[in-house]
């Protein structure tokens, strides 16, 4: 299929937009216009809201558009505070340094509420895309099955879950167009993580080559020559520094992605996580 005259809108977390290319990027290079709305550490409600915002701005059209949604971990809570989105990733439990997030994790948010919000957000995403008749792929980027295992009803009370919650959670598998998450896909494989020589840091996120292998298996219709070329360009797993990879990634963004921060597209905008020229149009609220 020819995607040159079509637009791709990708949504998700760091498994969609990261400091190196992702599954969404490998698919996006095939499209005439490619918009990436991923944000590291965000929750599924954030993803659903971004989808609503993007549709409101870009008026998705079933004839010309394709939407890709990679859902994220369930135990997350994104919120807007002091003119910034706070998207710290999994926070039940939270081991980071943000005192406010720790306070929310320990005093306010619960696994039960987190599960509810995620399942309802994923249902909202599927409901909206189906209602709008927009061709799409909804897939679990991060593993969610770990929220369902231990189906030990004797411990339901202790875990704060009810039977209906677990049943509802299990049913969302049917909503996914791809059932296997990137995490599950990689679980029995020898990992090919990115490593930085200067710091010795090894990034546990799926590397570009792992994203490509996932895409090739579960979304083979997008495995074009162009995709293969880009995957090859990012096939290294060792870089001198983060800065070196960031420079490659900035070039990729400028070459293949459209600016999502067009005038008035979003009303809660904040400073970027990345610092490349791609971000120069971003502003503060």
């Amino acid at each position: 299929m020819n995607y040159h005259n079509k637009r791709l809108f990708a949504f998700g977390c760091s498994y969609t937009e990261y400091s190196h290319i992702t599954c969404a990027d490998l698919i996006g290079v095939n499209f005439g216009e490619y918009y990436n709305f991923g944000r590291s550490g965000c929750d599924n409600t954030f993803i659903a809201n971004r989808l609503v915002e993007a549709h409101n701005k870009f008026k998705f059209d079933p004839k010309s558009d394709f939407v890709l949604v990679g859902t994220t971990g369930f135990s997350r809570f994104s919120y807007w505070y002091d003119c910034n989105w706070i998207t710290v990733g999994d926070m039940l439990p939270y081991n980071g340094e943000n005192e406010q997030v720790r306070w929310i994790s320990e005093n306010l948010y619960t696994r039960y509420h987190a599960l509810y919000r995620s399942v309802l957000a994923i249902r909202t995403i599927k409901n909206l895309l189906t209602a709008l008749r927009i061709p799409h792929i909804l897939y679990p980027a991060l593993d969610y099955v770990n929220y369902l295992i231990d189906r030990d009803y004797e411990n339901i009370e202790a875990r704060g879950f009810t039977e209906i919650a677990i049943d509802e959670c299990e049913k969302i598998e049917k909503l996914y167009d791809v059932q296997t998450s990137i995490d599950e896909f990689l679980i029995d494989k020898e990992r090919k993580n990115i490593e930085y020589k200067d710091s010795g840091h090894r990034d546990t996120h799926p590397s570009p080559i792992e994203h490509y292998e996932y895409m090739k298996k579960f979304m083979p219709q997008f495995d074009s020559i162009k995709t293969q070329q880009v995957a090859k360009q990012f096939s290294r797993t060792t870089y001198d520094s983060r800065k070196q990879l960031a420079e490659y990634m900035d070039k990729f963004r400028v070459a293949f992605r459209k600016d999502i921060y067009v005038e008035e597209a979003y009303f809660l905008r904040d400073y970027p996580l990345g610092q490349g020229p791609y971000y120069k149009h971003r502003d503060v609220l």
Binding site: T45, A48, N49, V52, E53, H55, N56, Y79, W80, Y81, Q100, W103, I104, N107, L108, T110, Y112, H113, Y116, R117, L120, R123, T124, N127, L128, A131, L132, R133, G160, T162, I164, A165, E168, E264, F267, L268, L285
Partner: protein
């Protein structure tokens, strides 16, 4: 196929006495009321998605969405397996639940507008795209976000966009301010409730939902008046549950947290 009506919103939809939704419901074979006092617009969207999953809304159904106050945040009280829906995050600082005090420390007006804007947008898009007959109307007055609150210009524009998504522009609050000198009920035991009265709901329906100003609606109103008591808030709450909610509404189904 029985005609079905689903009503969503806050206490202006499900209250201690009859509401616009309860009156409209008289005209349908099956009437479901998913309103929840004090809930936020995000929770209205979540309830909508939950009930759609259970009842599979179709183009033969009728749905109303009563848009509530923007400055709300609904959370789950896991210990008691109930929703905490305390209403607005301003003006009611005496609410004692610890978690509500906590959420109020991080909530802010621009995030509040954002949450409502995305929720109402999603509801509107889903309802329109699926050809489900519906009316979105502002139950509560949110004009403070245009005048008093420290809302940014961008958020103010979004407030206007939310109003544009509504099929009715005048909120119940504005309607009452414009047409009545008093709102609510003073009970004989000294308690009071300043929610719109049954008569005010009925008058709002006559003005903005004329299609449902029918003989059945009139009979429903007369019935609701007949079971109403000013004795005390508790007695009226019991009356409404026993003689109306349990008899005139359909069971919503198995929700996560009833």
């Amino acid at each position: 196929m029985p005609s079905r009506y689903f009503a969503f919103g806050c206490s202006y939809v499900d209250s201690r006495w009859g509401t616009v939704a309860d009156l409209i419901g008289a005209n349908f074979d099956e009437y479901y009321n998913a309103g929840r006092a004090g809930s936020c617009n995000t929770h209205t969207l979540e309830r909508f998605i939950e009930l759609d999953n259970i009842h599979h809304f179709s183009s033969t159904d009728f749905i109303t969405i009563g848009v509530t106050g923007f400055y709300r945040f609904s959370i789950v009280d896991i210990e008691n397996h109930v929703w905490l829906t305390p209403g607005d995050n301003i003006g009611f600082d005496n609410y004692s639940h610890e978690k509500i005090k906590l959420i109020r420390q991080i909530d802010n007006v621009n995030w509040a507008v954002y949450r409502s804007w995305t929720a109402i947008n999603a509801l509107s898009k889903i309802l329109k795209s699926r050809n489900i007959k519906h009316i979105i109307y502002p139950s509560m007055d949110n004009l403070l976000f245009l005048t008093d609150h420290p809302t940014t210009d961008n958020s103010k524009r979004k407030v206007h966009e939310i109003l544009e998504l509504c099929d009715i522009q005048e909120s119940l609050d504005e309607f009452i301010t414009e047409n009545y000198t008093k709102r609510g009920i003073d009970y004989d035991d000294g308690s009071s409730d300043d929610h719109p009265t049954q008569t005010q709901h009925y008058d709002y329906l006559k003005k903005h939902f004329p299609e449902y100003d029918t003989d059945k609606t009139k009979k429903q109103f007369e019935y609701l008046e007949s079971i109403f008591t000013k004795t005390s808030m508790n007695t009226q709450t019991l009356n409404m549950t026993k003689y109306f909610k349990n008899t005139h509404r359909k069971h919503l189904g198995s929700l996560w947290t009833p």
